[in-house]
Symmetry: C2
Subunit: 482 residues, 2 copies
């Protein structure tokens, strides 16, 4: 039997931290005079109790963290936070079932943004803040994971982003801890700047802070039923666009940019591809909106850019029901969902670097067809891609599509119509938020779905957020063998 105590010890730390996090909405509700403060306080107490109990019982000086520990820890921490983070939703006066509470919490911590809540406009500030906090924690959590853990685990081609390969002169581990801390500070700074700009653009202080947290995390929870569209402000829309994009680029590059070295950010091919894909999709939809739907150019630019960037980055805000724009935009939104942003950002989806690796491999395949004896090595960011990383990405793509298909068929089995099943599956696995169609589209919510569908979607969000393989290895017998 493998000694998994170090894993549970770390989970203990996380639960204790989660308890501390719950104190924030407790204080806010207490100040606002809302009785929900008791819910947060008791949930915090419960979490702290379990967390500290784990810290005390699972302590071990000897066992070292292995690859298996890392896999189990990653999946378990997201699951545990989703379940324990759901306590406030379950016990607050929202009348949520346990299923709904976990769905909302999982949607938060995975920065998806799908919601079962309506009447947000009249919800208590504590609950609204808790939703934003979950996404904010989820956002920084995934960046740190993408920098510190996934490259070491070689999940889905993430080995391309190993720190050692960037600078072999320094020792890996202390450097990674340093980088993670610096990224954390930067994350806080970006959130603060975003909140300030939202506030200048007309939001209240509370709204500015909660939306800043869900923007930089490309999460998409809003404090309004009408999402960001409820503010009906071009300034707010453009602030959101800017920070959704900032949340979608590799955060390590910002560190170098802050030190005055802008070149890595400017020369990074992943950043360029991301911007080119977004610009192409947005431009085509602007042409469609002006030509086919006769929308004024300025308005088309604003609404297409906002909703296009929101869906591609998996944020999931909406400022209008883009499901009504017609055939081409709906198809485009569907495929944009899968794209996502860059590795090492808060976004989910396939991620741009994988599309680059896939494209580079395809180009060398085609070259090889024409010159069977030629040698064509695919490149990423001006470096040759190791064959092992290519295979990893190619398999990832296959598993991604299979998982999407299985989710969609599962949702169909639960009675969801074709567009709801297919777009819901895509939206969950790519951590987007809204789907397409009248039920779960930008104007709908997930509230009316059957419980089984909510559990399946929650699992899909976890799967997508943790890059599939991190979760799937746990289902193989080999993982548990000694």
């Amino acid at each position: 039997m493998i000694d998994f105590r170090p894993v549970f010890f770390t989970i203990g730390i996380l639960l204790t931290t989660l308890a501390l996090g719950m104190c924030i909405p407790a204080i806010v509700d207490l100040i606002a005079g809302h009785s929900d403060w008791k819910v947060f306080a008791s949930a915090a107490g419960l979490n702290a109790f379990i967390g500290v109990a784990m810290l005390l019982t699972m302590r071990t000086g000897e066992t070292k963290m292995t690859t298996r520990h890392a896999f189990l820890l990653t999946t378990l921490s997201w699951t545990v936070i989703a379940v324990f983070g759901a306590l406030p939703f379950a016990f607050a006066d929202l009348n949520l079932s346990f299923t709904d509470a976990v769905f909302e919490s999982m949607s938060g911590i995975t920065t998806t943004g799908a919601t079962v809540l309506t009447d947000l406009d009249r919800a208590a500030p504590g609950i609204l803040l808790w939703r934003s906090l979950l996404q904010w924690f989820g956002g920084i959590g995934i960046i740190v994971m993408a920098v510190a853990i996934l490259p070491q685990l070689s999940v889905g081609g993430m080995q391309l982003f190993r720190m050692e390969s960037l600078d072999p002169s320094e020792k890996a581990l202390p450097r990674i801890a340093q980088v993670a801390a610096a990224i954390g500070l930067l994350y806080i700074a970006l959130t603060a700047i975003c909140a300030a700009l939202y506030w200048v653009a007309g939001m209240s202080g509370f709204e500015a802070i909660t939306h800043a947290m869900t923007t930089i995390a490309t999460g998409g929870f809003s404090t309004r039923d009408g999402s960001l569209g409820a503010f009906n402000s071009a300034a707010i829309d453009w602030v959101a666009v800017a920070f959704m994009i900032l949340g979608s680029l590799p955060f390590v590059l910002y560190l170098q940019a802050v030190r005055g070295n802008l070149m890595p950010l400017i020369r990074d091919s992943q950043v360029r591809w991301f911007l080119i894909i977004a610009a192409t999709a947005v431009t085509l939809m602007i042409v469609w909106q002006t030509l086919i739907n006769g929308v004024r150019f300025g308005e088309a630019v604003r609404f297409v850019t906002f909703n296009g960037v929101s869906i591609m980055t998996g944020t999931g805000y909406s400022s209008t029901d883009f499901g009504l724009w017609g055939a081409f935009p709906v198809a485009t939104f569907f495929f944009l969902m899968f794209v996502g942003g860059c590795a090492g950002s808060t976004t989910c989806g396939l991620k741009v670097f994988r599309l680059q690796v896939l494209y580079a491999n395809t180009v060398s395949q085609i070259s090889k067809l024409i010159q069977p004896h030629g040698v064509f090595i695919p490149h990423f960011n001006r470096r040759p891609i190791p064959a092992e990383a290519s295979e990893s990405v190619l398999s990832f793509f296959f598993v991604y599509i299979m998982a999407f298909g299985a989710l969609a068929m599962g949702l169909g089995w639960m009675g969801l119509d074709f567009i709801t099943a297919v777009s819901g599956a895509a939206s969950a696995i790519a951590n987007v938020g809204p789907g397409l169609g009248p039920v779960i589209g930008p104007s709908g919510t997930y509230a009316s779905l059957p419980d089984a569908a909510k559990w399946l979607l929650s699992f899909g969000m976890l799967l997508g957020r943790l890059e599939l393989f991190t979760v799937l290895v746990l289902f193989t017998p080999a993982f548990w063998r000694n």
Copy 2:
């Protein structure tokens, strides 16, 4: 400049053969006393003239067939036959536009089965026979291509099926010609048996022959507006199921079976996977139909098996509007479209062996995650898969999904609604025939689509039929460079 004369010489042979083929419906119409015989006779004359002219002018004793010649020849022959095979549709009294005629012809030669024709029940026998003949030619054409050409070109992992690798003691080329001829005979024999069984089951002689040709070719053109459902005969449905499956298995294995060696057919893992996938999908849909829709068990078995096998194998017959069965079956039909049958059969789609290679690679990826220093070699049919073949299949999958997405978005741009665009794209690239939804679903036709959409779908059929890369290489500058 590369000397492409051998390519055009071969196209000349094909056109002359096509002219001979057109004589058959000409004779049938003449006997039936229908004036369309003149259309076929003059189209045959035109084809023969151009064909013989090419034979005379493009003759060259020196230039040998190279890889590039093979690529150009493959794409060009399918395109040329689609265009010249469209002449009877354009000139007969069907009132078809040139676009519609080429669409119908391309749908025929690629064994897709999508149609723009209505009122088939009252159409002249010559036209009905010509549609069946096109699919029948297309079916044997693709088997021969899959045996003789694609493995040499290493397209999409087809190098796994190189003859030399099966039996290195024999010389490749004469052996391939022998095999192709034997498969041709077998194809004719299977068609004859299928026709006889259809006739015994109650079809007229003409219907039995035309349907036998489109069944074994997994094409799906019918002589009735209601497709095979118009016959409303369980016996006919089961004959169709049997021969659609026979058309979906690797024909080379039949050769060995005919010689008394059944083991290769029984032990072939691709055959097993194909049957398991089909059986799983059909079983689940039977459960759905009996439990959710309250269909009688016997009826559910018959209709689900028939329509499920028809869509998975890309035949495209329908015996009822399965689009009305509800959420799960519709989602299942959508994903089944992509599967297709085995390599070396008349089916299109991703093909089962690719799913096996993708699965095997994924399993070894996951094993590698758990034991980073282990060596895990994926296997196909009890042999290790060369890394080059794996990469080829993995890239194929990516390009397949991208091509599907591009087609769907293009169809959206042309104004098709989401389900029509998405299922139409899938149906075209996988050479299925019907799509989903009210427009192009099993009860509809492609007649009402805009011309641009028909051209795009025709291109999609060609792309899917020729395994994508065969067509795509022609669009690279490197192909045309010396």
